[in-house]
């Protein structure tokens, strides 16, 4: 789960970036050619004087991080940082293209679900040696559930920069009108509350918005219920497992009982308007919507919304997904030492707190949460609690494709074009096919 989804919620993807993809690789080659010619014509720089670290960051992070950098350059006069800002929608593609074209930056931001893929590409330098050598690196201060997503086969490949998870955004007024003073903590209470909300709202109103083209809530419910998702060292799909089936049944019932409208997020022209007008009272989303809700909801609704951790199955606390963005060193970079210093700087609690006030991105270091800006934010508290209970999706490069298939078959079932049995069997079949290469690699003892 990355913030790239933020864009999808807004609807229109950045088409320009798509079309410039191919041009870009040609362009970057031309630029490199020009640089080579420049070098030949004799603009020699003084060797060993100043190192310039190339740093790629996405979206608003790429913009706001530049505010932090003067302090870094003051502390390290021998290092200059050149930030390249990449739109989220093009980021994944651009990183892959850069890797293919041998033009990787020294340090880069990446969604933590992308880490297995870039590890498979051998594009990331492991950090373990540097972490051992450096007493200041306190891994224990990171949210443990998030840190896990940065580790693979016992090695640490990246450090979390900011964290991200999903929980409940709800209308306090609408919920308390149904007799629930507190947000629900279990599935059963949740369903009861939603049923009352639906009855009170009438035919044009719903209890909750769950965009049918998203996989997140279904996977969260499955993980909460202990469904393994994949089996045999992540070589086969395990979606016909009874645990997954039960979670799916609950999820489907929300649509069958009319508690959630069967719409995709591209159909929601204005989510914030609909939330304000009470078309739905509950929404499962991430920290970026704290800022959006504050900005976009009308003043009259502002006192009447809040966030709450997700309800859980039975007595368990409801867990959610371990999302966020991380920072990684490029394996091919000749400036890893300088880039490592920048990585350390950006993950210092003090910089994390500053970065939060600049972007609203939640700090990955727990000690940064003591900062008054966060401690006093009533919407952030639920995130703090939720972040203690997060779980990662299977750490394999194929996960995003699999997640996409889950969303696809879930949508077909919601729209009644397939029965649940058919959908789950087809899902397992598709996932097995996606994982074929992984099975082949494992059978040949090649590391995937």
């Amino acid at each position: 789960m990355t913030k790239g989804e933020r864009r999808e919620e807004n609807g229109i993807p950045d088409v320009h970036c798509i079309f410039s993809g191919r041009l870009k690789s040609i362009g970057s080659r031309l630029i490199r050619l020009a640089l080579m010619l420049g070098a030949l014509t004799g603009c020699h720089s003084d060797p060993g004087a100043v190192v310039t670290v190339e740093f790629w960051a996405m979206g608003q992070e790429g913009e706001q991080v530049q505010v932090l950098l003067p302090e870094f350059e003051r502390r390290h006069p021998e290092i200059r940082v050149r930030v390249q800002q990449i739109p989220w929608s093009a980021a994944h593609e651009k990183l892959l293209t850069a890797y293919a074209g041998d033009a990787m930056p020294d340090l880069f931001q990446l969604g933590n679900t992308w880490i297995p893929e870039f590890v498979a590409l051998r594009a990331i330098e492991p950090l373990d040696q540097r972490l051992r050598d450096d007493p200041a690196a306190v891994l224990a201060d990171f949210f443990p559930g998030i840190l896990v997503t940065n580790r693979l086969d016992g090695q640490t490949y990246a450090l979390p920069w900011y964290v991200d998870t999903r929980l409940l955004f709800y209308r306090t007024d609408l919920l308390s009108a149904t007799g629930f003073a507190q947000p629900p903590e279990t599935w059963e209470d949740w369903r009861k509350a939603m049923t009352v909300l639906k009855v009170a709202g009438g035919s044009m109103r719903y209890a909750i918005l769950l965009p049918v083209n998203e996989w997140q809530l279904l996977v969260i419910l499955a993980l909460q219920h202990g469904a393994p998702l994949l089996r045999d060292r992540d070589q086969y799909g395990d979606f016909q497992n009874p645990r997954f089936r039960e979670a799916f049944t609950f999820y489907l019932s929300l649509f069958e009982q009319g508690l959630a409208p069967p719409v995709s997020n591209t159909q929601m022209a204005n989510l914030y308007q609909e939330f304000a007008s009470g078309t739905f009272a509950l929404y499962v989303s991430g920290p970026w919507n704290i800022g959006e809700f504050r900005r976009r909801l009308p003043a009259a609704v502002q006192p009447h919304w809040n966030t709450a951790p997700l309800p859980g199955f039975g007595a368990d606390p409801g867990l959610s997904l371990a999302g966020g963005a991380s920072l990684a060193l490029s394996r091919s970079s000749p400036r890893q030492d300088a880039a490592w210093k920048l990585l350390q700087f950006l993950t210092e609690p003090e910089q994390q707190a500053r970065f939060y006030s600049l972007t609203g991105d939640l700090p990955a270091r727990q000690s940064a949460w003591a900062d008054p800006a966060l401690a006093d934010n009533r919407y952030a508290q639920a995130f703090w609690h939720q972040l203690q209970h997060v779980q990662a999706t299977p750490p394999i490069p194929e996960w995003e494709r699999i997640a996409n298939k889950i969303a696809y078959y879930a949508e077909l079932t919601i729209r009644k074009q397939k029965s649940m049995d058919e959908a789950l069997a087809a899902l397992d079949r598709d996932v097995d096919r996606i994982l074929e290469k992984r099975r082949w690699l494992l059978s040949r003892s090649l590391t995937p």
Partner: protein, 295 residues
């Protein structure tokens, strides 16, 4: 061949060489590479380490033809071409006839207005059209409600999403073909119409027996270009629906893009590209044959 002729031939090749070289390097070479890739399972694993690349022969093609998603995409693409193509040509021709008519005042103005959507950025158009298509406050549903029609989900409704896209595409693109039709119409000698009028031919008969036959080359060109272009539909569904709802607007090129650049299954995506290429080649060949045969 005399020495002089040989000299001429040589210099002709010398002049052609740069262009041919560019075409070879930037077109034929990549196409050849893509063809080779379509016989491998090139993916991110292979990108990281070529030892993890397998030569799979025709397996990509086999999987493609067995994949329900590919057939869905192909079906959607045919739907788009079969409905959108003729509609687009018909609308273009009608607009051209109207604009070119002696009765129309300010033809230059209408020509420009009808051409404007062609040059407008697709994303900007898509944003506006998504508002038009909004089930609750969209202008289109409002207009329909005046006639007592219940609101339609348009882009969110699996059955209406493709018609909605076709409508937008036709609106956006008809201006281009209209201009070509106008050029074709203006090439028809006025004397023919004058003669027909003197013989007492009605406007409809003039259209059937003068305009249509003389417009045949233009017609052929427009139909071919539209066909080829529409088979490669990508940007509109990508921007408006991202292939949804439930893949009902997924086109072959969109599928290829997703497989290639989102999932990095370059081998599989290349196979999809070549299947589409073969298909377009076959259909345009058939169309050429049919239209030539009529003559």
């Amino acid at each position: 061949m005399t020495g002089y002729e040989r000299h001429i031939t040589l210099s002709a090749y010398a002049f052609l060489a740069p262009a041919l070289l560019l075409i070879a390097v930037f077109f034929f070479l990549p196409v050849l590479a893509a063809l080779l890739l379509s016989f491998t399972d090139f993916d991110i694993y292979a990108l990281g380490d070529l030892n993890r690349l397998r030569f799979v022969g025709l397996q990509n093609y086999g999987q493609l033809l067995q994949s329900p998603l590919f057939w869905t995409a192909l079906g959607n693409t045919f739907y788009f071409v079969a409905v959108g193509g003729p509609l687009s040509v018909a609308v273009s021709l009608s607009a051209a006839l109207l604009v070119n008519s002696r009765l129309t005042r300010f033809p230059g103005f209408f020509r420009t207005v009808f051409f404007l959507p062609v040059v407008t950025t697709l994303v900007a158009v898509a944003v506006v059209w998504r508002y038009l298509y909004h089930p609750h406050y969209g202008l289109l549903n409002y207009g329909l409600s005046l006639f007592g029609v219940d609101p339609i989900g348009w882009l969110g409704d699996p059955d209406w999403a493709m018609p909605a896209i076709i409508l937008m595409v036709v609106w956006k693109n008809f201006g281009f073909n209209m201009i070509i039709f106008i050029a074709g119409l203006q090439n028809i000698p006025i004397s023919l119409y004058e003669a027909a009028r003197i013989d007492g031919a009605s406007a409809w008969r003039q259209f059937c027996h003068i305009t249509l036959p003389l417009l045949r080359p233009t017609f052929l060109f427009v139909a071919l270009m539209t066909l080829i272009g529409y088979f490669q539909v990508f940007a509109e569904p990508y921007v408006m629906t991202q292939g949804g709802p439930a893949n009902r607007t997924l086109s072959v090129v969109l599928l290829m893009y997703e497989e290639g650049f989102r999932w990095w299954n370059i081998g599989y995506a290349s196979a999809a590209a070549f299947v589409l290429f073969a298909l377009i080649l076959a259909v345009t060949g058939l169309q050429l044959k049919l239209q030539r045969g009529e003559r």
